[in-house]
Amino acid sequence: MYGWLWRHLPGPVAVRATTAVVLVLAVVALLMFVIFPWVEPKLPFNQVTTTQ
């Protein structure tokens, strides 16, 4: 997976490394700001109220 990705990134090594870092950061941001906030209330970790 990662090998395939690396081989398909264009440009010399420096450019590829930069692109890879940007991609990783984009994925982390997507997780942090979109996916985790959406999934978090559905998980059984942090429910603090009693049913009324």
Binding site: M1, Y2, L31, F36, P41, F45, N46, V48, T49, T50
Partner: protein, 298 residues
């Protein structure tokens, strides 16, 4: 592992772009690629889970800290504005909580046992969105100082974790609720193992003045209990007796905190009950004055 790591097309094919085309991959190469792909997916999934822990424990804290700061700022501004343009004469300095919108702050809670800087603005409502800002007031329960049960829920992990250490609250520890015109001092009720020897034991502590096991319909009510999430009766006017509807005159003035238990789990709820022992009216001529209970920081 080394055989797996060198899988895939032979590196020579990549290093020499103008060279011979790579030989067609053999069966072993394909299996190696699949196994390596599965391994990479699993490692990635593990990293995502780790990242989720970071999110839950730290990132939500930062986000909530900003929201809590905004809510506190809004409440301070509102109080200041009302101070500058008093709508009512002196004798009408009474609290008004009607018509509060979901998500607005209306009071501050201080727990001096958690440090002099422990202060959170209490938010109306207990939706996810409100609880992200700060401790949330269960709609329909009493407001600060009112007879009945002033019930507040708060997160224990992440999201500012206002109730992180609520399990450490001892009997007689003060929960000071600041409103527009007053300071209401609630104190945690005796715990289960302290009830029987209260009068000669812990009850002799000067801090415990006004705190004693409650009688009548409140018999059996203790300072801390752990219940199932379905037991909504803990926030009833008489906790544990949802069907009793005592008249206002018969009601004790209680405060109840709810949070998740055990930490990082929603299997149960940790409940703390406190009773109001004192009310200080804010002196409009001394704006910065705080009640002595706020100094009980040990």
């Amino acid at each position: 592992m080394t055989t797996l790591d060198t899988g895939g097309p032979p590196p020579t094919a990549l290093d020499e772009p103008g060279g011979q085309p790579p030989p067609p991959p053999g069966r072993g190469d394909r299996i190696r690629a699949v196994v390596r792909g599965i391994g990479e997916v699993l490692i990635t999934a593990g990293l995502v889970v780790l990242l989720f822990v970071v999110y839950e424990v730290y990132v939500t804290d930062w986000v909530s800290a900003g929201k809590q700061r905004d809510a506190t700022q809004a409440l301070d501004n509102q109080w200041k504005k009302e101070d500058q343009a008093p709508a009512a004469p002196e004798q009408q300095r009474v609290e008004r909580f009607d018509g509060l919108d979901e998500g607005t702050g209306f009071a501050k809670m201080h727990i001096p046992a958690f440090g002099a800087d422990y202060a959170f603005t209490i938010i109306e409502g207990t939706t996810e969105r409100s609880l992200e800002i700060g401790p949330g007031h269960y709609k329909g329960t009493a407001y600060p100082g009112e007879p009945g049960n002033f019930a507040v829920a708060g997160h224990r992990v992440g999201k500012g974790a206002p109730f992180n250490d609520v399990d450490l609250l001892d009997s007689c520890d003060a929960i000071v609720v600041e409103t527009r015109f007053s300071w209401f001092v609630y104190r945690v009720l005796p715990k289960k193992d302290e009830v029987s020897g209260w009068a000669t034991g812990k009850g002799t502590d000067p801090r415990c003045q006004g705190v004693a096991p409650l009688g009548g319909p409140y018999t059996g009510l203790v300072g801390q209990e752990i219940v199932n999430p379905s037991q909504g009766s803990v926030i009833a006017p008489i906790p544990g007796h949802p069907d009793d509807a005592p008249s206002v005159g018969e009601r004790a003035t209680l405060m109840t905190l709810t949070t998740c238990h055990p930490r990082f789990s929603d299997r149960q709820r940790l409940i703390v009950h406190a009773v109001m022992v004192k009310q200080w009216a804010k002196d409009p001529t001394k704006p910065g004055e705080t009640p002595p209970e706020l100094k009980e920081t040990n």
